[in-house]
Amino acid sequence: MTITDYRRWAAEPNTAAVALSVVIPCYNEEWRILPTIGAIATHVSSMGLTWEMVIADDGSTDDTVDLVRALDLPNLKLLVAPVNGGKGSAVRRGVQAAAGDLVLLADADQSTPIEQLDKLKAAIDRGGADIAIGSRGAHGAMTENKNAVRKIASWGLNRLITLLYPLRIRDTQCGFKLFSGRAARLLFDQQIIDGFSFDLEVLYLAHRHGFAIREIPVVWIDAPGSTVSTTKVAITFLRDLALIRWNEIRGRYGASKPQVASVL
């Protein structure tokens, strides 16, 4: 029974090894974070595995931290940053604190409903994938409420990525990604970019290490109250595309590893 499973998770600290960590970066999400925590906790508690939630706050100036702290949930780790460092920095801290054999990155707005986790997990459980990423561009994906400007911007940026990088991935930016624990910890130890382009950087590093990546079509709903402007996203992203190249040239990602698997 779902509600019983949730109540047990909400009351009793985990004693077994953590199978799944759900990492949620957030910045000024006082309006959205509690429903997201509720939705995720309800669904994941019913999956029959030992799991934890990691809220990686990125220097929120609203009541996000107080609201989460007040829940006093024993299997929720709250990480608080003194200043806003960027989504990439928050995710990195969250992953480094995660103990799970699998690590899910999810956004604070539930734009990808948590039920989509089942498909990503199945892709990794079947074998052949170290990373399963939610994709709004893969065949079978459904998006709702995405405005025209964002659609055009996403298409343009994804085309540019395809041209510049050896990544045959249609959607690098969907915030719903599931990693094996080994892949997550290795990649986020190397990952440098603090902003939201970290998604592309992590996938680039994953390809570089030969991790197998599966792109899984997901339902995605444009949640109102986005804190990001489309123009700013595009400009910053273009800058970071060049930055990843420059980091590679300067050897900041370490020596290349032989390619042992291809991006699926």
Partner: protein, 111 residues
């Protein structure tokens, strides 16, 4: 989000799907057309409810024209209502049968 209304003894409005900010206008339009009095909202088929929708429910609970009761919320909704403490301000019953009988157009006294 689908909104359907059935009347068998009690008039019950059933919401299905995701109740979020995009659906609040449709919900408020439905409320604007509703007969004042007891309003039974069946949330058993709601997959997710966000803060905008919660605010719409709280506003409705404070509307003197209506006596709002939430019927059998789904597990995700139940948990979200608890985490936000909104379960303390809404009347929640498990079945339609648990709702008191009211004459059409009347609400509970006081409140």
């Amino acid at each position: 989000m689908k909104i359907t209304t059935t009347s068998q003894g009690h008039t019950v409005t059933r919401l299905e799907g995701r109740f979020d900010a995009h659906k609040c206008d449709a919900f408020n339009e439905h409320v604007a057309k509703a007969v004042p009095g007891q309003m039974l909202l069946d949330l058993s088929q709601i997959e997710f409810i966000d803060s905008s929708a919660l605010a719409a429910l709280v506003a409705l609970s404070r509307d003197a024209r209506f006596e709002l009761m939430i019927i059998n919320p789904s597990d995700p909704v139940r948990v979200i209502l608890e985490l936000t403490a909104i379960d303390q301000v809404l009347t929640i019953v498990e079945t339609v049968g648990a709702a008191p009988d009211r004459e059409p157009g009347s609400a509970a006294q006081g409140g």
